[in-house]
Amino acid sequence: MKEENNKWIEDVFQSMNGSRKANVNPALFAKIEDRILASEVAIIPAFGWKQFAAAAAIILALNTITMINYNKSIKSNDQDIAAIESNNQTLISTYQIYN
């Protein structure tokens, strides 16, 4: 049985002897050509990417400055509002309409 086993194993190793090659799909070459063409057209110039990165950096910087200034203006507004309210209180307390 061992001999039979060994013979079978050797037959398996040699099983592709005499086989013919599988045929290639005839449509494959056209697909390859299309892919090559697509890769040649799709090249984006590095110049474009640098511009995009620069624009993004500028927008981010502007947004940051705007946010900082906005926060400052809110604080000064709060102080102004507090001053106005205290003045109003004085006005209201001193102004008697139906006196």
Partner: protein
């Protein structure tokens, strides 16, 4: 017989006829090697496309240090192995049943009397690590001379012989597990 230097130079200059000629010359070998790795027609076609796109892209960098066929085979082997690596990562997350369905591969060109044995061969090749599988495919399935296999794998003839020995030993272990079931099915 194509003039390798001329054809590669022509391809790197954008000559479409030269590229078509190279494809005509090598496509069947590239496709069949890829088929031995993937055991799947669609995947082998995908790899074949990848190989020739790379050949076109890197034609200018081919220095002529090796034969053109060696260079094309190298790209084929590397592309096939990378494909299998990516596929393995992806199938870890897939249902194991769907991957088992693809195991019994019948090569379309095998002789009728060898069909069953060839199915067993492709099944047990899955157990081999990349370098042993490559040595076995190029030697026993593509039937390339051992020295050419060594050139493709950028190793020595002795290393190839050693890889083949280990490959056969590993496959023998798997085949011996299969043998009792084979005897039962023959009765």
């Amino acid at each position: 017989m194509i003039n390798e230097e001329e054809i590669i130079k022509a391809i790197s200059n954008g000559n479409k006829k030269a590229f078509a000629l190279l494809y005509q010359h090598f496509s069947i070998n590239v496709y069949n090697t890829a088929l031995s790795y993937t055991k799947n027609i669609e995947e082998a076609e995908e790899i074949t496309q990848d190989v020739f796109v790379k050949v076109h892209k890197y034609a200018a960098s081919f220095k002529g240090n090796a034969k053109l066929s060696t260079w094309v085979y190298r790209i084929t082997v590397n592309t096939s192995l990378n494909y299998l690596k990516k596929k393995k990562k992806f199938t870890l997350f897939k249902n194991s049943l769907s991957s088992k369905a693809a195991v019994d591969f019948e090569h379309p060109g095998v002789l009728l009397e060898n069909k069953e044995n060839a199915v067993a061969l492709y099944k047990v090749m899955d157990c081999l690590p990349a370098n042993q599988k490559t040595a076995f495919i190029l030697s026993y399935i593509d039937q390339l001379p051992r020295q050419e296999v060594a050139d493709i794998m950028k190793t020595s003839l002795k290393s190839v012989e050693s890889l083949l020995q280990r490959a056969k030993k590993n496959m023998r272990i798997e085949l011996e597990k299969m043998y009792p079931n084979r005897r039962k099915s023959k009765k």
